[in-house]
């Protein structure tokens, strides 16, 4: 590389106004109401009387230059050169011209992008990087997301769920995929194997010790070299230490499995936001299609779709019917590992005589 003469302009982020569709700019903050003319389509009406149609479509999230260029081509053709993404990796095109909606949908579908994800539907999965790019993953994320969304395709392109369904997957227990109505998260089932030969050279030991949520890591000496040990009875197999120290080898082809969590809710609508709860674990990490995971997801969402009332999020449906019926209707077994044993565990105990028979 030649000597660098350019001086960085520490510009931070672009201003949104230069990115917005002209109708968005004109009616910024002056919207009146919206309707959903069909799955994947929104119609927003401004106080000025201006109308803005939105078409929402699913993407691969892991995309390439030609895929994004084709989306830009569609935006140039139908959406006046503007487009946006949702936080669940869906792409959106806006147009004031209703006549653009049908041909845009046709072209999106021809490119393989399902149009949907609006209203009471299953939106695309928020997911992590996995084997494709992450340095601590026990599984792939894009592959799991693809396999599960293949099975939920109809629920994305139709609006037939009780309320919106947010999904997430994560390829380690740090759970970068986040809280969701239903989340598929890696679960380790053994303590880390410690690679003593490299630990001292690649890890900062005090910060590795400090990273453990249950104080299970202690300094020790192995073959005359300083290293770390794990008190296996205390270890909760979370893998937090692995992020600090790659010698704490938590990932394992067979012992790293999947757990499924339900009832996380971001919105404040009706009930307060909530964290998700463990309902299934010990599922095999089974690439390339993870059929065991998909079956559990289908069972849960099938029962919710059948029994949930309008506007009930998955966790609210469970609040109404009770956890006992949830386990019955989804075919999942409740077991002793689902009883919390960590901080604030008592808040999850049934401190009442409210029992469903």
């Amino acid at each position: 590389m030649e000597k660098r003469t350019y001086k960085t302009e520490e510009s931070g982020l672009h201003h949104h106004m230069e990115m917005l569709h002209p109708v968005s700019q004109k009616n910024y903050g002056q919207w009146s109401y919206h309707e959903r003319p069909g799955p994947g389509i929104l119609k927003h009406v401004a106080k000025s009387g201006d109308v803005l149609f939105t078409v929402r479509a699913g993407t691969h999230r892991q995309v390439t230059i030609p895929i994004v260029r084709r989306l830009c081509d569609l935006a140039d053709k139908y959406a006046d050169g503007h487009l946006r993404w949702t936080i669940r990796n869906n792409v959106e095109f806006m147009t004031p011209n209703e006549a653009n909606v049908a041909p845009l949908i046709k072209e999106l579908e021809a490119l393989g992008h399902p149009v949907g994800g609006t209203g009471p539907s299953v939106s695309a999965i928020a997911h992590t990087q996995g084997w494709l790019h992450c340095d601590i993953p026990a599984t792939d994320a894009s592959g799991v997301a693809k396999s599960v969304m293949d099975a939920l395709y109809d629920d994305f392109v139709k609006e037939e769920m009780p309320n919106r369904v947010r999904l997430a997957t994560s390829c380690c227990e740090i759970n970068c995929g986040g809280q969701a109505d239903l989340a598929i998260v890696v679960q380790h089932t053994r303590p880390p194997r410690i690679n003593h030969s490299i630990l001292k050279d690649i890890c900062e030991m005090p910060s590795t010790v400090a990273r453990c949520p249950v104080a299970a890591i202690r300094p020790t000496t192995v073959n005359g070299k300083a290293s770390l040990m794990v008190v296996e009875e205390k270890c909760i197999y979370c893998g937090a230490c692995f992020g600090a120290c790659p010698a704490m080898e938590i990932n394992h082809p067979d012992h790293s499995k999947f757990a499924v969590w339900v009832g996380g809710k971001n919105s404040n609508a009706r009930s307060k936001p909530s964290n998700m709860r463990l309902v299934c674990h010990g599922l095999d990490n089974n690439p390339p299609r993870w059929p065991e995971v998909t079956q559990v997801v289908k069972n849960i969402l099938g029962a919710y779709k059948a029994g949930g009332r309008d506007w009930e999020r998955l966790g609210e449906w469970i609040d109404r019917i009770g956890w006992k019926r949830f386990f019955e209707e989804t075919g999942l077994p409740f077991d002793k590992y689902m009883i919390d044993s960590y901080r604030h565990a008592r808040t999850s105990f049934n401190q009442s005589a409210h029992i469903r028979f």
Binding site: E10, H14, G243
Partner: protein
């Protein structure tokens, strides 16, 4: 540079397990990658695909981190080196550049094409739109190309996002750009807050990550309460605006049963009652949950006295478990530049307190729980209010100042 224009680079190696992910109706990232390799001859992408196939065979990951960056910054590039470069030399390096998008993930095609053109010149051609924090991720560049690639992006007005112990790239919902629910200018707040903290985005100086998310209303479409250390959520103080004619139209279209079963009885605080075949809202009981407004967007809308609530301390799993953010500022107007500066001032004090008090890798929510919320509020210069808790303490062990005297109003 990883690109080889000759046809040898366009040849795909066998990836039988990954090919299984080309089946089914959902868009296949594998098909996308294969198309790109055959199109461009980008050998880094081919190497990555081959290593991914090996991960699928062995059920293990093969990337390790390192340090790659650009001049003057300490964050924004996530370095990845293959642990098995002898096996997959084409995938030896596969670093990611995190790019901060505009608030709301809005793009003009012209600006997005700038990124694509530059990325085609320097990188693997793979992108993630977007990462969980909200970055546009340019995935796959070698160390020698990072600076030039960044310089070209920067000339087009694009800048790197956060990573590690920094203020991270922000996230926001669609906001006032399209949504009638937006109670404040969430996109502008995102822009101004993140611009103010640019130095902390680019240079790790904090105990751990600090995330900002901006939602226009309590529907919280940016998942801020669950995911953000600082959740800025639009709200209102006065009465829900009701268009009586639209209420009647709603009942005429949907029926009284629907109104009862899906609006009135679903109000979490029973603030809505049936009156003469229609609905009345007792606004003093309303908690601004948004449900009735969501069901009746034509008839109901948020009140006119609008502002934000600030919730602090939301975070994911590490280290002490999930935490939802909790209310630290129940209501703040956010209309003028002064209002905005006031909010940034308060957040600055919170970050200062956290930087002083926190342990290594401790998020602010964990720090508040360990050190104490009252100490935090005092440092931030905030009055304690009942809005900050679900209920007063039920734990009988407490201590108060010996000379504390309650000021009790006469209610006679």
């Amino acid at each position: 540079m990883s690109k080889q224009p000759d046809d040898a680079g366009k040849k795909l190696n066998p990836t039988p397990l990954l090919d299984e992910l080309e089946k089914g109706p959902w868009p296949s990232f594998i098909s996308g990658y294969k198309e790109w390799i055959q199109d461009s001859g980008n050998t880094m992408t081919r190497g990555v695909l081959d290593q991914l196939q090996y991960s699928y065979e062995t059920k293990m990951g093969y990337w390790k981190g390192g340090v790659v960056g650009v001049h003057g910054y300490g964050a924004g590039v996530i370095s990845r080196y293959s642990m098995i470069p002898d096996k997959y030399p084409e995938a030896k390096e596969f670093h990611t550049m995190r790019i901060q998008p505009a608030p709301g993930l809005h793009y003009s095609t012209a600006k997005l094409r700038d990124i694509l053109d530059i990325w085609e010149k320097y990188g693997s051609g793979l992108l993630s739109m977007h990462g969980q924090t909200g970055n546009l991720q340019l995935q796959g560049i070698d160390q020698d190309s990072v600076q030039e690639c960044f310089d070209e992006l920067n000339k087009k007005g694009w800048d790197l996002g956060g990573a590690g112990a920094t203020v991270r790239t922000g996230a926001s919902c669609v906001g006032p750009a399209r949504c009638e629910m937006a109670c404040y200018d969430s996109l502008d707040a995102h822009y101004k807050v993140l611009s103010y903290f640019t130095d902390l985005v680019h240079r790790p100086q904090l105990p751990y990550k600090a995330k900002f998310k901006f939602s226009g209303c309590p529907n919280d479409c940016s998942n801020s309460i669950q995911r953000a250390d600082y959740a800025v959520i639009g709200t209102w103080k006065d009465e829900i605006q009701m268009d009586k004619a639209e209420v009647e139209a709603f009942i005429a279209a949907k029926g009284v049963d629907y109104l009862v079963n899906n609006v009135i009885t679903r109000c979490p605080t029973n603030a809505i009652t049936m009156e003469n075949g229609s609905m009345e809202i007792n606004n003093s009981d309303c908690v601004r949950c948004m449900h009735c407004i969501n069901v009746m967007p034509k008839a109901l809308s948020p009140g006119k006295e609008r502002g934000i609530s600030l919730l602090v301390g939301g975070k994911g799993h590490l280290k002490v478990g999930n935490m939802l953010g909790s209310v630290m500022i129940p209501f703040l107007k956010l209309e003028t530049q002064e209002d905005m500066e006031g909010l940034i001032d308060i957040i600055d004090r919170m970050i200062d307190w956290w930087s002083e008090e926190a342990l290594d890798h401790e998020r602010i929510g964990e720090c508040i729980e360990r050190v104490g919320m009252v100490a935090f509020l005092e440092a931030a210069g905030l009055e304690t209010t009942i809005d900050m808790v679900s209920h007063p303490r039920d734990n009988p062990y407490f201590k108060a100042d010996h000379d504390h005297k309650p000021q009790i109003k006469s209610m006679a």
